[in-house]
């Protein structure tokens, strides 16, 4: 096998994070490379650089021995690289053929009118190679997800791509559809195409790839033939050396740990969200920090949003402190004592035009009236409440009248927590609260969760950084493809244990 494309020392920095850390990777003709790593390990950042969608801060891409600068995604296409993204990038109203040839220059008649006959013939030819059965004239919106993905692969064929990159292509595909796609990819490889397959599903990597590259914290940590891995060693590479640290070791470094009560604060029974979450049942005790782990797309956010009434659930019961609650909108959840700190705090948490003070009091405005019988907020009481929260949470702000926009990510997170501190809520749901904030702010967030728990309140903590869950939680449950697949508690919590559940592999049996 000959290498035709390589990256040399790619580096990409985002503020506060090195997303890609000196990655040098070779791509060989006719080889299927499995690219794996945790959420945020840098896989997508590398792919984006290859696709010309972002530019590296350091390093270069070398094609056929010559350095290549990609200023625009279109150049990657011209150079024979094709990308099938996780989210389908099709134009639903256009036909299959129009999608296949979109942006590649449709065949024309007399330079002006589209030559549909030729267009359909060209598309039909490549679709035939993919197993056939797809009508080039059909609107692409009428196709199944699997078929739409094949159409995106057809795009790669029609451009005679030498490199085809697929990012999580098997999501929402059935086993049969996946097998068909694998056959197509193997056929591509036999025609000297280099295939890069990004997936969280390790069994697919072992079933398909010739070579596996593992990324962790932006760096390439392993790059070997697939035969040199087994599931255990692969998971170890993915998680890193400290993955097997036990809960206690972790907890010491985080300095937290709770003493949960026996009384149940929140009980969710048989919760379903069509297509996202199936039949989830769990409970949180008072004073407990319960972790919720899972890979991207496992349905964690969907689950908690449904519990909070932010999204519609198709079935399921919610009990708070033993009382069944009818929750169909966030107001009901708040009245029942459930609070959600949303994942996307800028777009779902903050009211941008509002000052710190007004952001703080918007959820509990009723508690700050001049007279309890009149719906008139008292700015004095609001000011006092905001000051209390700023002090108690140590929020760094010039004044409570500053625009909330001016705060740093960590302080915005604390601001949104401050909104609910005096609401008397019993259950706090934190959805990725430490995403995008710096290390010391993260530690403050852990301490605040711990404080809530020590006050007898309950915390549900969603995180993609499993190390945090290991360090902070007394119990962690794991969601995979919308289903609750397991739970670990106490001493048994470790990153490896969580990842095994996430990937659906037991290392002791498969390893």
């Amino acid at each position: 096998m000959t290498s035709f494309l390589e990256t040399r020392g790619l580096v990409k920095d985002y503020p506060g994070v090195r997303a890609v850390d000196h990655v040098s990777l070779e791509f060989n003709e006719g080889e299927i490379l499995g690219l794996v790593g945790k959420n945020g390990a840098g896989k997508s950042s590398v792919i984006k650089i290859l696709a010309g969608a972002s530019r590296p801060d350091e390093g270069e891409i070398v094609l056929d021995g010559a350095p290549l600068t990609l200023a625009h995604p279109h150049e990657a296409t011209i150079r024979g690289m094709s990308f099938v993204h996780q989210e389908l990038s099709v134009v639903p109203d256009l036909s299959v053929a129009e999608n296949v040839e979109l942006g590649l220059g449709y065949p024309r008649r007399g330079g002006l009118f589209l030559n549909f006959r030729k267009m359909h013939a060209k598309a039909a030819e490549v679709l035939e190679r993919l197993g056939g059965g797809i009508d080039p004239r059909a609107p692409i919106g009428s196709l199944s997800v699997a078929e739409q993905r094949l159409v995106m692969i057809a795009r790669a064929l029609i451009t005679d791509a030498r490199l085809v990159v697929l990012d999580e292509p098997s999501a929402s595909l059935t086993d049969e559809e996946i097998n068909h796609m694998f056959a197509v990819l193997r056929d591509l490889a036999s025609h000297k195409v280099s295939v890069v397959y990004v997936s969280h599903r390790l069994e697919e990597i072992f079933g398909l790839a010739n070579r596996v590259a593992v990324m962790r914290d932006g760096a390439l940590v392993a790059d070997r033939p697939v035969s040199e891995f087994n599931v255990r060693t692969l998971i170890e590479e993915i998680t890193g050396a400290d993955a097997s640290a036990t809960a206690n070791e972790r907890r010491q470094s985080y300095g937290v740990g709770g003493r949960p009560d026996t009384e149940v604060a929140l009980r969710v029974t048989g919760l379903n969200v069509t297509g996202k979450v199936s039949d989830v049942t769990f409970e949180i005790r008072k004073g407990e920090i319960l972790g919720l782990a899972g890979l991207v797309g496992a349905g964690r956010t969907e689950l908690v949003r449904a519990v909070f009434g932010a999204d519609r659930r198709s079935s399921g019961h919610i009990e708070v402190n033993g009382v069944e609650c009818q929750i169909t909108e966030p107001r009901h959840a708040l009245d029942a004592g459930i609070v959600l700190l949303p994942e996307d705090r800028r777009n779902q948490g903050l009211i941008r035009d509002f000052s710190v003070r007004r952001n703080m009091t918007i959820g509990t405005l009723r508690q700050h009236r001049y007279k309890s019988s009149l719906p008139l907020p008292s700015s004095q009481l609001e000011r006092a409440a905001a000051q209390r929260a700023i002090e108690s949470l140590d929020i760094k702000t010039a004044s409570d009248q500053s625009p909330a926009d001016w705060l740093s990510g960590g302080n915005q997170q604390k601001l949104i927590l401050g909104r609910w501190l005096e609401s008397g809520a019993d259950v706090f749901i934190f959805d990725e609260p430490t995403q995008g904030i710096d290390v010391s702010a993260k530690e403050e967030v852990y301490m605040l969760m711990e404080r809530l728990a020590s006050e007898g309140r309950s915390v549900l903590f969603i995180s993609s950084e499993f190390g945090e869950l290991v360090g902070v939680c007394q119990r962690v449950m794991v969601l995979r493809e919308g289903e609750l697949v397991g739970e670990v508690s106490g001493e048994a919590i470790s990153e490896v244990a969580l990842l095994e559940l996430c990937y659906g592999h037991s290392m002791s049996t498969a390893g």
Binding site: G40, A310, R331, R419
Partner: protein, 337 residues
Amino acid sequence: MTEIETVGAGAGSVVGTSHSDRLREFVGKYGLLIVYAAAFVFFASKRGDSFLRIDTWTRTILSPTGFTPLLVLALGLTVVMAMGDFDLSFGNMVGLAGGTAGALMINYDINWVVAILIALLIGVAVGVANGYFVAYLNASSFVITLAAGTILFGFETLWTNNRSISGLEVQSFLNLDEIKVIQNIRLPFFVAMAFFLLVWLMLDRTELGRFMYAIGGNREAARLAGIRVQRIRTIGFIVVAISATIVGVLLVANIGGTRSDLGTAFLLDAYASVFLGAAVFRPGQFNAPGTLVGVVFLRTIEVGLLQMQIDNSWINISKGVILLFGVLLSQLVVRQR
């Protein structure tokens, strides 16, 4: 994939308040008032004899047929626009309310109080319908209220057989327009000011108003903070419809009859006033005091230019230019953030 943000930036640091920053902010907040003062001085020096007389103001600038309808409608509009919605139906709602009240009194001899109440009831129903389609069924407020306006116009012409009604002689009803409260200032001016106070207090002093601004700031965040977004947006459309009903009734009392184009003439000026209003006091935010300034500004320009016997075409051009620059002025501050 990676969230991009400046870690730690801005926290605790006192944001620069240099000389130019403060000047910028002052111009952004009060620039429109300065322009207004300049226009005022200009008109006073050119046509001081008539422009500075109280009579001129009460009969023209603050007139029952110019000032009152514009202010009441613009205030209603301020409420929905604070929540990020539009209403294009209120012009025709004015016509429908006027037509309803007028037709009931003239054609059916119905008591004027009952006639007003029925018009109000219809107004509320229209607001609820607009709100239901926009807030609950998640349709674009632009399209829904455009459709509603067309439908309302149809009903109005149906009610009145597509004819102007005149010869209304119910004196107690006509008094709504004619009663002089203080000196020569007639009742409609005070109705408008009372409505102003009401909307001002509601937006700036009540929980409801705070929720409305929160919805305008970030609808999804407001919902997740427990605000009943759908209900409150619907209330906004009801406020607009009620403001249109008030205007319709007062205009019918003024002309002693009704025409189908009673309110449509105010549509664009109302929007202009609200946008101008967002250029003063709280740049970028629709607010009641700002709207009042916007209305007075537009009325002054219009009357001032008329007194100078300037062609109507130029009045329109001037108003447009003022709107353009007023909005740019407010951007001075907003863009900085």
